[in-house]
């Protein structure tokens, strides 16, 4: 590892779950000093699976371990005035506060943006919420599915004859985390030059709208409601139990190659399939031809064959496919990380390589692992003070 991109950046993370911690993880991987502040019960991600052997353990959550690499960790109870006072001291010389939780939470504790900028004018406060710090939905209850609904993602996903379909996993939360990462850095770039910090907001609902644009554009430009379509990116089951999705059948540039790849070159001259619009009009026939063809194929083999002809198609990869992928192995994407409680495990890495600099994942902190280092070493409390703070449920 060479020089770190964000060496010298000091981040205080008061965030749980996926989005806020993801931003902190990337800051940490790029060399920032990231201090994660957890409530005494810990980030809720510690209670979410997966766990080895399905046995819940606060230090062994796969979600938490993955999202919190490269951070130090302390516990601090922000439900106490003492806890808030300690956070204030920590923020006095921080560059970025990464907050994730309900809107208005910090404000209600005297840690709103105005108070914080009086304390530290250079501080960039990144707020990660469901709906933002203002607006009529501010206090709505949210989460992944609700964000996908109100953000317009759900309406576009799935089959037209069925209910809208959620994009799997925690996708919008991850997207929000990347936006938080970016927003914090833009504001920090400004703060480092001018001494002016500011509040940066991202929200799950707005990220979901950021995640597409077909719906609003179709309405604004054409007065049409963009709907779910079966023919947009049809998925075919292959003979070996895999899947291939084709999103490119409409593009004229790929149609001749596709007809050749599936052994039906005569279809190029078929007037029913002449151009994008006519292939849409005769979708049922296109679909039948492709389904019949793929039923005899092997998914990964087709992927390589099509890519050799410069056709941008993929095949469905599951975690074992990815862990065994020669491409991922060649790039060293997966990293083995040792953790005092969870042991050695293979983790997904960071999806980019840096030529001059490097990145280092590190590992996730144990709950309260750095209490003594931070409270005694940094803030000057004695070990006896720590006993008091623990007994009074502050840490």
């Amino acid at each position: 590892m060479g020089l770190a991109l964000l060496d010298g950046l000091r981040v205080i993370e008061v965030a749980q779950g996926v989005a806020g911690p993801l931003a902190g993880k990337y800051y940490g991987a790029l060399g920032a000093d990231v201090l994660k502040v957890e409530p005494p019960a810990g980030d809720w991600a510690r209670r979410a699976g997966p766990f080895p052997g399905d046995e819940p353990h606060p230090e062994k959550s796969g979600l938490f371990l993955y999202l919190n690499t490269g951070k130090r960790g302390i516990t601090l109870n922000l439900e106490t005035a003492t806890g808030c006072q300690i956070l204030r001291r920590l923020l006095a010389d921080a560059d970025i506060l990464l907050y994730g939780g309900p809107a208005g939470y910090l404000e209600a504790r005297g840690l709103g943006h105005r108070e914080l900028s009086a304390l530290n004018p250079r501080l960039v406060a990144v707020s990660v919420t469901d709906f933002g710090e203002d607006g009529p939905y501010r206090d709505f209850k949210g989460g992944e599915l609700i964000a996908q609904a109100l953000g317009g993602v759900l309406y576009l996903s799935g089959y037209p004859e069925r209910e809208p379909l959620k994009v799997g996993g925690n996708t919008i939360q991850y997207l929000t985390g990347y936006l938080a990462f970016t927003g914090g850095l833009i504001a920090y770039y400004h703060a480092a030059a001018t001494g002016e910090g500011q509040l940066v907001e991202v929200s799950l609902m707005e990220s979901a709208v950021f995640a597409h644009h077909y719906a609003n554009l179709e309405w604004a430009f054409k007065g049409e409601i963009k709907r779910r379509r079966r023919d947009q990116s049809p998925t075919y089951r292959t003979g070996d139990g895999g899947y291939v999705t084709l999103s490119i059948i409409y593009r004229d540039v790929y149609w001749p190659t596709l007809t050749r790849l599936i052994g039906r070159p005569e279809l190029v001259d078929d007037p029913r399939f002449r151009d994008q619009a006519s292939r849409r009009d005769h979708w049922a026939e296109v679909d039948r031809i492709l389904a019949e063809y793929f039923a005899t194929q092997k998914a990964e083999e087709f992927y390589h064959r099509a890519q050799a002809e410069r056709m941008p198609v993929g095949y469905l990869c599951t975690p074992p496919d990815l862990l065994g992928s020669p491409q991922y192995q060649a790039r060293g994407f997966f990293q083995e990380i040792d953790h005092p409680a969870a042991g050695k495990l293979t983790y997904p890495g960071i999806p980019f390589r840096l030529d001059e600099a490097g990145w280092d994942l590190g590992r996730a902190p144990l709950l309260g692992e750095h209490n003594e280092a931070v409270y005694c070493g940094q803030l000057g409390y004695s070990k006896a003070d720590l006993v008091v703070l623990r007994d009074r449920n502050v840490i």
């Binding site: 950046l9 979600l63 504001a187 920090y188 770039y189 030059a193 554009l217 993929g314 975690p319 491409q327």
Partner: protein, 436 residues
């Protein structure tokens, strides 16, 4: 607003060679915070999002033109192109020609960042890979946003968003049934890559400011998708378990689904986190007895009896308006969201209050709302500085104003076809028409 009204990235010049969605969106975000983004295309190979040079039959349906009308210059009025590329300057430059490469290198000398998303090897073929850019400008920052990275056996493979969902591992957990994975309807990898890539550019700018050094960033879009399904990898590593699609359901929450409402294709999402929210849902439904029904009283029971529970909820939601129901449920503390379509998004009171959409005056197309939000910086808010560039719109400004080429030199480049304002395919078509 800051004292002098400066945006954070003012003074940063970016040469944007990216096309389609992820790269252009990332650079539009940086442009909205003050970077001077020069979009570099050529008349032979322009950004595919512009659509066809000559609109074929049915183009009005396939592309997003104002009133479905391709107009005389369809390449300057496609909605997706406009939304992904406003706040940029437009330059055409044929990089397959030595004169084009020469001009590009002169631009690199006065720029801070070069971003590209070509197939691996294309920049090297142009003679514009990182070592050669660095030779021109030692502290240049270069970012490559390729499908699978610059190394490895599949480095030359191409992709669109729907491909990345598959090859990155997101499609494996998206679908109605465990054995029926499907694509998302929104090609979500592109905006995810955009959100990360924009930040990486700024991280590199920090690095350069501190060290004086440039940097090469080699991003893999496929790996970016895998990074957003990290917990499925961890589950496999820990338990050998391959997670499958679970429709709209959640492993530990119930009810958790999308339910029909009154009207055509109207839906509401409900995601109950705990027992008290379930009791509140039952009260709003007028069915308080369900909260103590032994099938549904605890979360394990609700997860086991989801089919019955979903049917009961759907029978109720079907009688109600999706928006009205959302307000009632939210007032009772139940996480609920109306499933909004494009028209509803534009009219949504929350997005309006947040200023998510902004009207953009696009010459040749008209005034349309475009996405603007997602990143709200309170002191230095994003701005709409200029519309999306027409093909080659700023050739004179960039070549003459920034590089100091003479009018004669610029005219020579135009005569040689190195720069231009009209797609080569459209020119060919005009010649054919005049011949025939």
């Amino acid at each position: 607003m800051t004292g002098d009204g400066r945006l954070p990235l003012e003074g940063v010049r970016i040469l944007d060679l990216t096309h389609v969605w992820a790269g252009p969106l990332a650079m539009r975000v940086l442009g909205s915070f003050g970077a001077e983004v020069i979009k570099v295309e050529s008349t032979r190979r322009y950004d595919m999002s512009r659509g066809e040079a000559v609109a074929g039959p049915g183009a009005g349906r396939v592309f997003i033109y104002p009133n479905a009308d391709p107009g005389e210059e369809p390449w300057n009025r496609e909605g997706r192109f406009i939304e992904r590329n406003y706040n940029k300057l437009g330059l055409t430059l044929d990089l397959t020609r030595p004169e084009g490469v020469e001009v590009f290198k002169r631009l690199v000398k006065i720029s801070d960042v070069v971003v590209e998303s070509f197939r691996v090897g294309v920049m090297a073929n142009f003679g514009l890979d990182y070592p050669r850019l660095r030779a021109v400008k030692p502290d240049i920052i270069m970012v490559s946003l390729s499908s699978q990275g610059q190394t490895g056996p599949e480095r030359a493979y191409g992709s669109f968003g729907a491909v990345l969902e598959q090859t990155g591992g997101l499609a494996a957990i998206t679908g109605y049934e465990p054995d029926a994975p499907t694509a998302t309807g929104t090609f979500i990898p592109d905006p995810v890559v955009a959100a990360l890539a924009a930040g990486l550019v700024v991280a590199a700018l920090h690095f350069r400011r501190r060290t004086g050094l440039g940097l090469y960033i080699d991003l893999s879009q496929r790996e970016t998708v895998t990074a957003i399904v990290g917990e499925t990898i961890m589950d496999y590593v820990m338990n050998g378990r391959v997670q499958r699609p679970m429709g709209n359901r959640h492993p530990t929450m119930a009810p958790h689904g999308v339910y029909p409402c009154a009207g055509e294709d109207r839906w509401i999402a409900i995601a109950v986190e705990d027992d008290s929210q379930f009791a509140a849902l039952c009260r709003v439904m007028g069915r308080p007895e369900l909260a103590v029904d032994e099938r549904f009283a605890d979360v394990v029971g609700r997860l086991r009896h989801q089919d019955e529970l979903d049917k009961i909820i759907a029978d109720w939601t079907r009688q109600h308006d999706h928006l009205e129901l959302m307000y009632r449920l939210q007032a009772a503390g139940v996480p609920a969201g109306a499933v909004l379509d494009g028209r509803e998004l534009l009219a949504d009171p929350h997005l309006q209050a947040r200023g998510f959409f902004r009207e953009l005056d696009q010459p040749g197309a008209g005034r349309y709302p475009v996405s603007f939000g997602g990143l709200k910086l309170h002191r230095t808010p994003a701005r709409i500085i200029r519309p999306a560039p027409r093909l080659g719109e700023h050739n004179e400004y960039i070549l003459g104003g920034l590089l100091g080429l003479s009018g004669e030199e610029i005219a020579a480049l135009e005569r040689a076809g190195v720069i231009g304002r009209i797609p080569a395919a459209a020119v060919r078509r005009e010649v054919e028409a005049s011949d025939g």
